[in-house]
Symmetry: C2
Subunit: 179 residues, 2 copies
């Protein structure tokens, strides 16, 4: 797929079939993340273990319900809502919490374009990483280097969302050309 096609088709997908993602695709996506601009070190965990995903899903749901943040309470109260949307894979990108946010986000955005190119749905998620930050027992299996914290999550999976290629964006009014 052309780069600009992947960029245009990229959309946050919140409905997955649950079918497993092929290991070869996960490896390509992770390699893409490692090819992103990065001023520092990141660590990438690719979670496909269904029990671990269910634990993270449940803990994230509880976190959202008890967050006191109106948006999170409301979203998680939608009937049938699950924070991981049934995705069969969650990539957790970790780094130094003081200076690593830009690095993990650049890696996540690059992985997401790689996934789009491969025909996979994806979604940049924050709440599961909040839960992994807070829950030592839950984060233990990530086996992170000392001083690293989960800072970004990317859901991956096949989707049959009929709107997956449909992106209606308002014309941008946030751009200034100075020249």
């Amino acid at each position: 797929m052309e780069t600009f096609e992947a960029i245009a088709q990229r959309k946050s997908i919140r409905s997955y079939t649950g079918a497993p993602v092929e290991k070869a695709d996960l490896e390509k996506i992770v390699a893409a993340g490692n090819a992103a601009p990065c001023a520092g070190q990141i660590s990438i965990a690719v979670i496909t273990d269904t029990e671990y995903l269910a634990e993270i899903d449940e803990a994230t749901f509880a976190f959202m319900q008890n967050s006191g943040v109106e948006f999170l309470v409301k979203r998680s109260s939608t009937p049938g809502y699950r924070p991981l949307y049934g995705a069969p894979a969650l990539v957790v990108i970790s780094s130094d919490p003081e200076r690593g946010t830009a690095n993990v986000a650049a890696a996540a955005a690059t992985m997401i374009l790689a996934a789009t190119d491969l025909g996979l749905g994806s979604c940049y998620v924050g709440s599961p990483t909040r839960v992994l930050q807070a829950g030592e027992a839950l984060a233990e299996r990530l086996n992170l280097p000392a001083g690293f914290t989960p800072l970004a999550g990317v859901l991956l999976g096949t989707t049959d969302d009929p709107a997956r290629f449909s992106r209606d964006r308002a014309p941008a009014d946030n751009v200034t050309f100075i020249g």
Copy 2:
């Protein structure tokens, strides 16, 4: 260009010919940034004004020299060093400083892949945004929304760096598959 080719060719370029980037290319790159995953608002300024670029370049050089950070002092003391490397365009991406870092970084990474696809060199830079954060007079021309701060910079331009497609990366040892 194929998405994975752009991802593989992406490299931080620190040498530019200085030839102007076509407006149409800048517009495509900015649109790519606006198509990146984003949970919030960002603002994008595309600086091609040579005087403004020279001011930012000079202020960034002074910032690096006086930073007290060994890495920045050393890098900026390299003979002939200029912080903007002679790039004819600097994109400054701004947002809410409390929560916007991931949003600007995702936009920057996506713009960088768009630039790579278009055959342009690019570099994700931090120091010029530090200078714009600190210098109200210097940042005034960005005309930012209230509460927004410059958080990421992307240099763009043609390059004749002979190593621009050559990327030697050590095999990744930062990936864990849990499944």
